[in-house]
């Protein structure tokens, strides 16, 4: 086997604010090989590759290309060193044709679209792509867009190709086609780096695997000499004891029954595919999965914010004893039934709070319908805001400070506190501890536990497997919009969940 190193990374470190995205990462990719970079969400895979392709600049460390130390300051520098990156979110101009996108940014030759179209055709036939160079990007399928991205870097003569989660958006057939193309490029002497978290793909296509965990480099193994179990362990790490209290559920009764729900996005891809589960009172139901596997859509479906194509969501009202179908209800009616969503999206302020409004006003976002006067009554929300500040130890100058000025942890406390204050019957919390320090995280866990003891059905979407295993009574694992497993939090392991997460089908 050819072992001429094409690119070497030594001790690369990158810090965003207080978050360390990459810490002392070392990595080598050889000519004529396919290297997989494996890691969970937030393990720093994409950040690392962005540094090779010039989007970010490393804070520390060195990059060697063909044995020579190289500084990559911009995407342009990366092109000059024949590095091409295919991003997970395609960087294409929608209203341009494939060929126009491909020549975008090139400067050397004379501007001639006809010649460009011809070269695109040549490259396509050489590696076996199927593409019409004159088709507009907005008319293309996801797989075609990806093809354009790949041809774009080949057109520039790239020798090192980086693909960020290339199969995340592809059907199995399209994935096979892609792998065939990759193998042809490998035979042509190119180095290919694939970022992924899908184990079976790693095993089927790559020569070597490098694993990252929480920004740190764990190790590299030959694909031929490894197994799914070893890779999973490298990826999720050994069990860390967190000492989160977990009480036994007290007389649980069914509160929410989700049955066979599916939903479809605009392009016709299934975001949720035949999902069924039951959430019980006095219990924390965890939802684990790779980011973007349908967690958000699932919670939004329950909250009435997502249109369902199939299935129904039954709610067993403890106050009246009646059964209601949430599918026919508006978000407001669902809220009034006591189903509460405290969603913490990627940007914390996105869905729950208004950044420029103060804590009191944000409380009123939920209570503004109360009262009959045309004027707002600020006294009750003010008391509530002050209660939350005291009980949850929110660090803020006053209740009238704009939420935007608070730190991330405090913002999340305000959000979760407000939803809990409405004494819900179902509480959904998505990534409530994302970006929080240890103490604030425990505060949130305790809050959720308290709700559980009060008989609330808690649904907790998390990304840290250690937390899920210690906090939740049952854990639902989803992959690509499907349920791939349901495990008991008390007798499961991280490895088991990790394996289920990377599957895309539920096989008993």
């Amino acid at each position: 086997m050819n072992t001429v190193p094409a690119i070497e990374l030594k001790n690369i470190t990158k810090v965003f604010g207080s978050i360390v995205a990459n810490k002392n990462v070392c990595l080598t990719a050889n000519r004529g090989e396919i290297l997989s970079i494996l890691g969970e969400n937030g393990s720093g895979k994409t950040t690392l590759m962005n540094m090779i392709s010039g989007i970010y600049y490393p804070d520390e460390g060195h990059i060697f290309i063909d044995g020579k130390e190289t500084v990559i300051r911009s995407p342009k520098d990366a092109f000059e060193h024949k590095i091409g990156m295919i991003h997970q979110h395609f960087k294409l101009v929608d209203v341009f044709s494939a060929a126009e996108n491909i020549v975008l940014g090139l400067k050397d030759e004379t501007f001639n679209m006809a010649a460009a179209v011809k070269r695109v055709r040549e490259i396509s036939s050489r590696y076996g792509f199927e593409i019409n160079p004159n088709k507009k990007v907005y008319e293309m399928s996801v797989s075609e867009k990806q093809t354009v991205e790949i041809i774009k870097v080949l057109y520039r003569g790239a020798d090192i190709l980086i693909l960020d989660e290339p199969t995340a958006v592809l059907t199995p057939q399209e994935t096979e086609k892609l792998f065939a193309v990759l193998l042809r490029m490998k035979a042509d002497g190119k180095s290919i780096i694939i970022i992924t978290h899908k184990l079976h793909e790693v095993l089927s296509v790559s020569d070597r695997v490098s694993v990252l965990r929480k920004g740190e480099y764990i190790g590299t193994v030959q694909t031929a000499e490894t197994s799914e179990a070893e890779l999973t362990e490298m990826m999720v790490g050994r069990k860390v004891d967190l000492n989160i209290e977990r009480s036994e559920p007290k007389n649980p009764v069914d509160r929410l029954a989700v049955s066979h729900i599916s939903c479809i996005d605009r392009e016709g891809t299934k975001l949720l595919d035949d999902i069924s589960f039951t959430a019980r009172s006095g219990e924390i139901l965890g939802i684990a999965g790779i980011a973007g596997s349908g967690q958000r859509e699932l919670l939004e479906a329950i909250a009435g914010l997502q249109h369902l194509s199939e299935g129904e969501i039954l709610y067993f009202d403890p106050a009246t004893g009646k059964t209601e179908n949430l599918r026919d209800k508006t978000p407001l009616q669902i809220r009034d039934l006591g189903v509460r969503l405290s969603f913490v999206p990627e940007d914390r302020l996105g869905m729950g709070l208004v950044g420029n409004m103060d804590i009191i006003d944000n409380m009123m976002l939920r209570s503004y319908r109360e009262g009959r006067s045309a004027f707002l009554r600020r006294s009750e929300p003010k008391t509530l805001a002050e209660d939350i500040i005291n009980q949850l130890e929110v660090v803020t100058p006053s209740a009238s400070t704009p939420v935007r000025r608070l730190s991330g942890g405090n913002v999340q406390k305000v959000l979760v506190g407000r939803e809990i204050a409405a004494s819900p019957t179902v509480l959904m919390a998505a990534y409530p501890v994302r970006g929080l320090d240890i103490n604030s995280s425990y505060m949130i866990y305790n809050l959720l536990n308290k709700q559980k003891e009060n008989g609330v059905a808690v649904i907790f979407v998390g990304e840290d497997l250690d937390v899920l295993v210690e906090l939740c009574d049952r854990i639902l694992v989803i992959g690509s919009g499907r349920i791939t497993g349901v495990v008991d939090g008390r007798d499961t392991t991280k490895e088991e969940i990790g394996l289920l997460m990377t599957k895309s089908r539920y096989d008993n």
Binding site: P75, K76, L92, V93, V95, F96, N101, K107
Partner: protein, 329 residues
Amino acid sequence: MIATLFQRAIMQGIPLLCGATGEILTEKSGNLNLGIPGIMYVGGISGVIGGFLYESSFMGHKEDMNGFLAILIPLVCCVVGSLLMGLIYAFLTTTMRANQNVTGLALTTFGVGFGNFFGGSLIKLTGSSMPSITLSKTSEFFCQSLPIAEDLGWFGQIFLSHGFLAYLAIILAVGTGVMLKRTRVGLHLRAVGESPATADAAGINVGRYKYAATCIGSVIAGLGGLYYVMDYANGIWSNDAFGDRGWLAIAIVIFALWKPNLAIPASILFGGLYIVHNYIPGIDFSTQELIKMAPYVLTILVLIVISIIDRRENQPPAALGLNYFREER
């Protein structure tokens, strides 16, 4: 009379065309420059200041004025004035990442005030009893048309009777269209306006394109202001006479679907609609005002029609109005 209407429609349309071409160029870079009305004012008054200084240095013997300098001085002043306005906009939005709408509206307010202030000052300097400055000799040079125009009847009157700025405006519009559609620079500029992150990843200097497009666009718009005073208004500047033509130019950008070539007939159409009430006999004042609304009504209709047709090519640049910052996350 029809020939006169057409001739006047073109004359009305030229300032609009300059403003629209400049704004299209700017918007293609993703900058929504609502400062165009102000920039056209500044372009106009800067030209007037230059022309005033040159013409008043020949007090009493104006026949000695050099035609070349009489054109060059106001032209350079206009270019410098509007270029500075474009630079302010580009600096605030691209470098400082200020909100584009606020910046643009502030520049319009500033530009109109700037024009009125210096216009008023010049009027005071001349000690004239009229609330206007007249640069009739400079204007004569600007209005100079081909001598054969008069011999060609209605054709000459409509197409050949204009000063050089009118033809320059058409050439600029056609040139901008060709540049956007057929050149590499145009492809890159459109990419910057559609998706700056894509352009950046492709190695295009997003900031440089935004600066260049905004500044050049401002200069083209400023020339519209200059044409208005020197040619259309025969060298007479009076405060607020330029009116709302700048906003009309921005309406044309939408009407012409961001295509400079389409902006040429659109400007002449809008120009014609702006003055057509003078050519319809026997209508009263209120009807006149209603007719003046026609360009805006047309623009709304176009917006409705393009929403119904929903073709991606007819939409504004996707990143219009959004500032770009690479490491935003």
